[in-house]
């Protein structure tokens, strides 16, 4: 229960195509996160799966059954909305029971399910309150509870934590992870926050402009981004990119440092700020001028401008005594560089 397959899904609004042929398989019990910048189509895709919108072409299958033309209510899915969409005129209990009553479920069964959900989410005390009398976190739980009592084959969550403050978001994130662990139900989770995506997901789907850029596990995305977009999107601070030219198996970076690069032609060299360190004297290094120092205590983020003008960020552990305007030389870990061709696609580096 809970296998979802998308087959060449396309969606147009008023003649403008916003989803350009998406293929995706979500396995049973998996927590898949859709992530991407705003306007990438992640919410639209979720609404298509939910059945709130119909795709212009393509098919959606749930457990092998084509549900493309099936109503939202009959797909056996439950959704948690960004605004929670709790019915403001109903108590928490009524919010939870409304959907079950509509399916003419037995009263005792409804009560049992609500009590279960109440216990699981610790909202048993709040049952007779109205949504306006709840805090943000409590509303969030009720919204999840409303999905849980349906016992759906999959949960769809549309940026469920975006209305919470930063601290609460971290707590709720952990609770969501535990909940998934306990229920083992398929979840599709939409967010623009890559930290949420990295911490929660079994697999992450990175979307941009209605196209899937990459599907992989969080560490897979981090370690082997398929293209420049994914490389730049995942990881904080963002990956440093140096545009250069490969010649005879090598490419030169500003400051004269060379890296191994297969083939000839324009390439982009990517290196995460965490994989840079201060160079020893005489060592080949990237050279630049410090433009900003963010001392965080345990580590220091150093922004610098390389000799060719490219911006470059380094995360150094400890508190090196660097100041704005001083020259800086950084060395890199050659095993950790990422190479991208002129089209921005990953080049599998020749080993060695």
């Amino acid at each position: 229960m809970g296998r979802i397959a998308l087959k060449d899904i396309r969606k147009s609004f008023g003649g403008v195509e916003v989803i350009h042929g998406i293929d995706l398989d979500v396995e049973e019990g998996e927590l898949v996160v859709f992530v991407g910048p705003s306007g990438c189509g992640k919410s639209t895709l979720l609404r298509l799966i939910a059945g709130l919108d119909r795709p212009t072409s393509g098919a959606i299958e749930i457990d092998g059954k084509d549900v493309t033309r099936v109503n939202a209510a009959d797909r056996g899915l439950a959704m948690v909305f960004q605004s929670y969409a709790l019915y403001p005129h109903m108590t928490v209990r009524q919010n939870l029971s409304f959907g079950l009553e509509n399916t003419r479920m037995a009263k005792t069964e409804i009560t049992a399910r609500i009590d279960d959900a109440g216990r699981m989410l610790e909202i048993g005390e709040l049952m007779e309150r109205r949504p306006t009398q709840l805090s943000g976190g409590q509303r969030q739980r009720v919204a999840i509870g409303r999905a849980i009592v349906r016992e759906p084959s999959a949960f769809l969550l549309d940026e469920p934590l975006s209305n919470l403050d930063a601290e609460l978001r971290v707590t709720m994130r952990a609770e969501l992870a535990q909940l998934h662990d306990r229920l083992k139900t398929t979840m599709i989770y939409v967010t623009h926050d890559q930290v949420e995506a990295m911490t929660l997901a079994d697999r992450i789907v990175v979307l941009r402009k209605g196209v899937i850029e990459q599907v992989d596990t969080p560490l897979g995305l981090y370690n082997t981004p398929a293209n420049l977009f994914v490389a730049g999107f995942i990881g904080a601070p963002n990956m440093n990119f140096f545009e250069t030219t490969a010649q005879g198996g090598h490419a030169e970076l500003p400051g004269g440092l060379t890296v191994k690069a297969p083939g000839d032609g324009k390439i982009t060299v990517g290196i995460r700020p965490q994989h840079l360190r201060l160079a020893d004297d005489g060592e080949e290094a990237l050279e630049g001028i410090v433009t900003l120092v963010e001392a965080l205590g345990a580590e220091t983020v150093v922004h610098a401008r390389a000799v060719d003008g490219t911006g470059m960020v380094t995360v150094l552990s400890g508190q090196p005594g660097l100041h704005i305007g001083e020259p800086v030389r950084v060395a890199l870990d050659h095993a950790q560089i990422h190479l991208f061709d002129a089209d921005g696609q990953r080049i599998i580096p020749a080993s060695g």
Partner: protein, 350 residues
């Protein structure tokens, strides 16, 4: 005390009365007298008997003649204060009036008849209410029927208005369908067509549908108010679509979404429309006047007008029934005045 008066007569900065303060208070107090005075005068007059109503100058408060049972007479006799020629006064009961003389009797000595010039006698009165003004028309003159008709028209028209207008507003605010703009345009267009412009053809339509002299002929043409659809649509636009989608995921049918989600959430707007509808329909006059030509179908407004238009106007009944007609509106005013005034300021409807 001085604190209170200081608060009440707060003035433009500093001490002393600026001329604008004087204008303000003259205007407000004068306005209060002018706005409430006529209605109070009506209420006071409605409690006066026919004889007292014919007097000039009128008294501010209603009085009734004091009567007393006198031995030898079947009915109680009215008492008068009589001024004798020597200037002394005594209280006598009047038996009958003959020309400019009145035949009177001393209640303590009922055998002696006394002739008194009517200029020398003053009726003995006390503050009292001629409640008969209210009882009579309701019991014998059909006003109970008119009252019922008005209540029926107001209630049914308001219920139908709320239902049909909210359904239309729901469709126009929450569905995206072909022709929605056209429907909106038609509704905006009909705002320009007040009833007074289509009296003749509307009469023929009502007559063709067999609704002449029926209360439904009064109700139906008024219920599809564009104003109501507008007001409700504006409000429903503020209800988030995600709520409806959540309900759809919750297996709710479209009708249930309307009935269980949107209607309860639109309650504030519905309440405003309900109050306005009650006042409008209760006060309607021209259209009922045209449609209703049989006495048993009259509403209060038409009935009042008919009685007030008779050759010999029975003011004591008319005034009392005017008060009855006014009562529901006054109740609405007292309890919902704040609600209505904010509604008007917000929506600009009347």
């Amino acid at each position: 005390m001085s604190r209170v008066s200081q608060f009440i007569f707060r003035r433009r900065g500093g001490s002393g009365w600026h001329w604008t303060d004087i204008v303000t208070w003259v205007w407000l107090i004068g306005g209060t007298i002018l706005m409430f005075g006529p209605a109070l005068w009506l209420v006071s007059s409605s409690l006066k008997g026919p004889a007292q109503l014919a007097e000039f100058p009128p008294t501010l408060l209603p009085y009734t003649q004091i009567t007393m049972p006198v031995e030898g007479f079947d009915n109680p006799l009215p008492l008068y204060t009589v001024t004798n020629e020597d200037g002394t006064t005594e209280v006598l009961a009047e038996i009958r009036r003959v020309g400019t003389n009145a035949q009177m009797v001393d209640p303590d000595a009922p055998e002696d008849r006394i002739n008194v010039n009517i200029a020398n006698r003053e009726p003995l009165r006390e503050i009292g209410f001629a409640t008969d003004n209210y009882v009579q028309p309701l019991v014998t003159n059909d006003f109970l029927r008119f009252l019922w008709n008005s209540v029926f028209v107001t209630t049914m028209a308001t219920l139908i208005t709320l239902l049909t207008n909210s359904m239309a507003a729901f469709a126009l605010s929450k569905y995206d369908f072909r022709g929605r703009d056209a429907v909106m345009l038609i509704i905006v267009g009909t705002l320009m067509v007040p009833l007074s412009v289509i009296l003749v053809p509307l009469y023929s339509v009502v007559s063709a549908t067999g609704l002449l002299n029926s209360l439904w002929g009064v109700i139906l043409p008024t219920v599809a108010t564009p104003t109501g659809v507008f007001l409700l649509r504006q409000y429903m636009l503020t209800i988030p679509d995600e709520l409806l989608e959540a309900a759809r995921m919750d297996h709710a049918s479209e009708w249930q979404i309307y009935w269980r989600i949107v209607l309860p959430l639109a309650a504030p707007a519905l309440a405003v429309l309900a109050i306005f509808s009650v006042v409008w329909r209760w006060n309607d006059f021209l259209w009922p006047l045209i449609v209703l030509s049989q006495r048993e179908t009259y509403t209060l407004q038409v009935g009042l007008n008919t009685y007030a238009g008779e050759l010999n106007v029975q003011w004591h009944y008319i005034l009392a029934m005017t008060v009855v007609t006014m009562i529901p509106v006054v109740i609405v005013f007292i309890f919902l005045q704040r609600f209505i005034t904010t509604g008007i300021a917000g929506a600009g409807i009347k």
